[in-house]
């Protein structure tokens, strides 16, 4: 990987300066031109190395107090196609397949669901349940009760 990209990642993984010319201040620190920094960000963005540049809100602070990690035990053969369908529901923010840990953890599909009220979150979970019907053997919702840490990744 490009050495400049690595330096930019290291410098900005904790955040971008909130000032009029954010890319200029990064450029100055790295001793390169502002245009080069902008081009690098565009390329990292196009390649998917950057998912997006923006904010990460604290869910609770912006009113989403009912955050459920919903987990589903779905037949392996159908997990990928149903996982994609769940991921396409507009209220699902993340959807992944992960390994089961039998017997204590039988779930293989994880979908994050957020609501401003308990009812809203529960209705959304119900929508997933209806979509899965008998392809899901068991499911569970793990409501978050406290944020213990939230920083984003640092490497």
């Amino acid at each position: 990987m490009n050495d400049l990209y690595q330096k930019i990642i290291t410098m900005t993984q904790s955040g971008l300066p909130v000032e009029s010319r954010p890319f200029l201040s990064i450029a100055k620190e790295l001793g390169v031109s502002e245009q080069l920094v902008i081009d690098s960000f565009k390329k990292m963005n196009d390649s998917g190395l950057i998912r997006r540049i923006g904010i990460v809100p604290n869910h609770y602070a912006i009113g989403y107090t009912h955050n459920l990690m919903t987990v589903w035990d779905i037949d392996d053969k159908k997990a990928d196609s149903l996982g994609k369908e769940i991921g396409q529901l507009e209220f699902v923010s993340h959807c992944y397949r992960r390994p089961r840990h039998l017997p204590d953890w039988p779930y293989n599909i994880f979908a994050m669901v957020h609501g401003k009220t308990k009812q809203e979150a529960d209705e959304r979970m119900e929508e997933i349940r209806i979509l899965l019907q008998s392809d899901c053997h068991q499911f569970c919702a793990l409501k978050s009760s406290r944020i213990l840490k939230k920083t984003g990744l640092r490497l």
Partner: protein, 162 residues
Amino acid sequence: MIERAGSSLLQKPAVLSELEKKLINRLQHQLPITESPFQSIAEELGVSEVEVISTIRNLKQKKVITRFGPLFDITKNEGVFSLCALKVPAEQIDRVANQVNSYTQVAHNYLREHRWNMWFVLAARNSDELENIFDEIVKSTRCEGINCPKEAEYFVGLFLPV
């Protein structure tokens, strides 16, 4: 005295101004990659660049937003992510959370209502490093743990309109 884990984080809704709400909605989408990105946002929202910048700084300071900047997908750079869980006895939550949170490789950590009650994301350069950190956490916290690395990603795209 054990510090209450997460006590520095907002755990309930904040009162938000109209401009704060607009910015929270707009900035959950992509910031323009240009010389003066906040100027473009300001024009979109019909306010001044100075207002945009000071409002974002203020939201950060109030901890309504936990981050402003690029979100990297480290899996595109040979990095790995895993979601891990521990079964932590109720009276040991703060002790264990402080131990887990002390790792820079732990990006976030949530307490959840379940017998597997502590869920955190580990990020590492490769799966060996990740497994080593996970083993170390399980050993040092003396809690039962499960490591659930991502096998397939179907969707990532958080948008929480306010």
